[in-house]
């Protein structure tokens, strides 16, 4: 009887795990690159740990990036990642406008390589006549020489998910907190809240 129970339970776990196992390699990449490991490292490793294989390196878990082309590329490839999802993966677009610390920055194909720190604000992705708008919290944006833009944000929400009423209330609340702040830490936190909510309001005002 126990064997039958065991079989049934293992079938159940297998069935439950099947979609997971099937998806097992979903986030894997087909054309992943090999990590560049200098020979000296391999030799040293053999000396100190002859019985262990070399560890793996994260660069082997990534897809290879396109090489730098000599001609002006026509499209910009955007990778937009959030901690919980790949929002956009290798998407070809015409233009991206990101909220850098110095203001809205537009990125076109062939943009000079840049590292930009982002502040909370509106980000829009233009594909032909199609525009997708997100409100992003802070993050970073890299533009590479091969016309690939990497945008990393902690949070990003499409604009239609934001409630204008709540935003207005938030602005008032944090403005009050800034004036009532007792010490530097509280003031800094209140300032951040105020900045984010003002940016939210501006973003909603712009598109609404």
């Amino acid at each position: 009887m126990l064997a039958r129970q065991g079989l049934r339970s293992s079938l159940r776990t297998w069935a439950a795990a099947r979609p997971v196992l099937a998806r097992g390699f979903a986030a894997e990449v087909e054309n992943h690159q090999e990590a560049v490991v200098p020979e000296k490292f391999k030799e040293d490793w053999k000396k100190i740990a002859p019985n262990y294989d070399l560890p793996h390196f994260p660069s082997s878990y990534m897809a290879a990036r396109p090489a730098v082309s000599s001609t002006m590329p026509t499209k910009l490839t955007v990778n937009f990642v959030l901690p919980h999802a790949f929002e956009m993966q290798a998407k070809e677009v015409d233009m991206v406008i990101v909220p850098a610390t110095s203001g809205q920055m537009g990125v076109l194909p062939g943009h000079v390589p840049t590292i930009a720190e982002l502040k909370p604000g509106l980000m829009s992705v233009h594909e032909g006549s199609d525009v997708k708008q997100y409100f992003v919290s802070s993050g970073f944006a890299f533009v590479h020489a091969n016309s690939v833009a990497d945008i990393i944000a902690i949070e990003a929400v499409p604009l239609d998910r934001l409630d204008p009423e709540e935003v207005r209330k938030g602005v008032q609340e944090y403005a009050q907190k800034v004036t009532n702040a007792k010490d530097d830490l509280e003031r800094a936190e209140a300032q951040i809240g105020l900045e984010v909510h003002s940016a939210l309001q501006a973003a909603l005002g712009v598109s609404a």
């Binding site: 776990t13 994260p58 959030l82 790949f86």
Partner: protein, 373 residues
């Protein structure tokens, strides 16, 4: 079997040369009752009682009964028990021991099966999160490069491990590689210092013994709430605040599939190293402009901290997924092994039980036969 019967016959003849009629009657009555009880299956426990009653009757008629009973009782069990000389009436003591063992093995099997199912369900949720986070570390590796061979003057080895055990060999793997990194850095010279930051109780237990003086900080109970970015940002903050380092080596298990976990070492450079010559050439950083007023140095400072938080987040999720997968397969193996042990025990228990019943019958019947004839 015939040897046992003979021994019994000899014993009976020795100790009861003139059996009274009451003894014969009681002997036959015992035999009848014995067969009846066997039919109801109560012979298992009744056997010792009957045997004890019978033993009393026999010892009454002869003083040597108890002593002679011991080897006789042993033979009756058919060699199934390897316990020492058991007293006459306790022929089923070893059976009881086997029964206890069977019960405990069955309980263990149930527990491990339950643990396996819990791990399987947790695996599903964490795997989704881990796969979603796989994009987070890639832009940094593209920009700043992955430099596996770089061992700075001050290396910080951050070891990710689990808090709970019973998850196979993943913690030992991570500790092995952390130890190797320490040895590698020591091989490069005395001016290369290495420190450990240990996340998780299991690696702490293993590394504390040998390398206590190298350990800089411990971080435990990271999975009390499910892993989120805020937590990793705080951890990164603490690590950066309390440690001076050139290079961080992050050692974790990447989840490849439910049975395969790859030990991975991620290399992160400090802002000072990033601004230095090597890194600039490696990642071609000097060709990158910075937006805004900040100098590249300041931006790199923020970037390095952000990189640590992001890579740590991805690594912790991968490690947690590996933990669940490893626990699932470990508990699965354990359940199967428990089942096999249980089968073997059941067989031997049944054999000994049947042998003791047979022995009882033989005693009684040969006793009756001896008395008759």
């Amino acid at each position: 079997m015939s040897r046992n019967a003979h021994a019994r016959y000899v014993f009976l003849v020795e100790c009861a040369p003139n059996p009274s009629r009451s003894a014969v009657v009681s002997g036959i009555a015992l035999a009848v009752r014995r067969i009846g009880e066997m039919a109801t299956g109560a012979a298992r426990r009744g056997g010792s009682r009957l045997a004890r009653q019978f033993a009393e009757k026999l010892t009454l008629s002869s003083g040597v009964g108890a002593q002679n009973g011991a080897p006789w009782g042993m033979q009756g069990l058919g060699g199934a028990s390897s316990e020492g000389l058991a007293p006459f009436g306790a022929r089923n003591a070893s059976n009881q021991a086997v029964r206890n063992r069977m019960r405990s093995v069955k309980n263990i099997q149930k527990i491990t099966m339950a643990m396996k199912m819990v791990a399987a369900s947790k695996l599903r949720t964490v795997q989704v999160k881990a796969e979603g986070s796989r994009g987070l570390f890639q832009p940094f590796t593209v920009l700043l490069g992955d430099a596996p061979a770089v061992m700075g003057k001050k290396t910080l080895v951050v070891t990710l491990s689990t808090d709970k055990g019973l998850c196979g060999g993943i913690n030992s793997t991570v500790v092995k590689y952390s130890r190797s990194l320490l040895k590698l850095s020591q091989m490069y010279g005395d001016d290369h210092k290495t420190e450990f930051v240990i996340v998780g109780d299991k690696a702490k237990a293993q590394l504390q013994r040998e390398y206590k003086k190298y350990i800089s900080m411990y971080i435990t109970e990271t999975q009390k709430v499910s892993i989120n970015f805020t937590q990793c940002a705080m951890m990164a903050d603490e690590i950066i605040k309390n440690n001076e380092y050139d290079v961080i080596k992050l050692v974790y298990n990447k989840f490849n599939s439910a049975v395969s976990f790859l030990p991975t070492v991620a290399t992160l450079l400090s802002p000072e190293m990033l601004a230095g010559e090597e890194a600039q050439k490696l990642g071609n950083l000097e060709s990158y402009e910075t937006e805004g007023d900040a100098t590249q140095g300041e931006v790199l400072q923020n970037l390095a901290e952000f990189q640590l938080a992001s890579v740590l987040y991805n690594a912790m999720l991968e490690n947690a997924t590996s933990e669940m997968g490893a626990r699932m397969s470990a508990m699965d193996n354990s359940t199967r092994n428990a089942g096999e042990v249980l089968d073997r025990l059941t067989l031997s228990y049944n054999r000994s039980r049947q042998a003791s019943i047979t022995t009882e019958l033989i005693e009684i019947i040969s006793g009756a036969a001896a008395l008759e004839g």
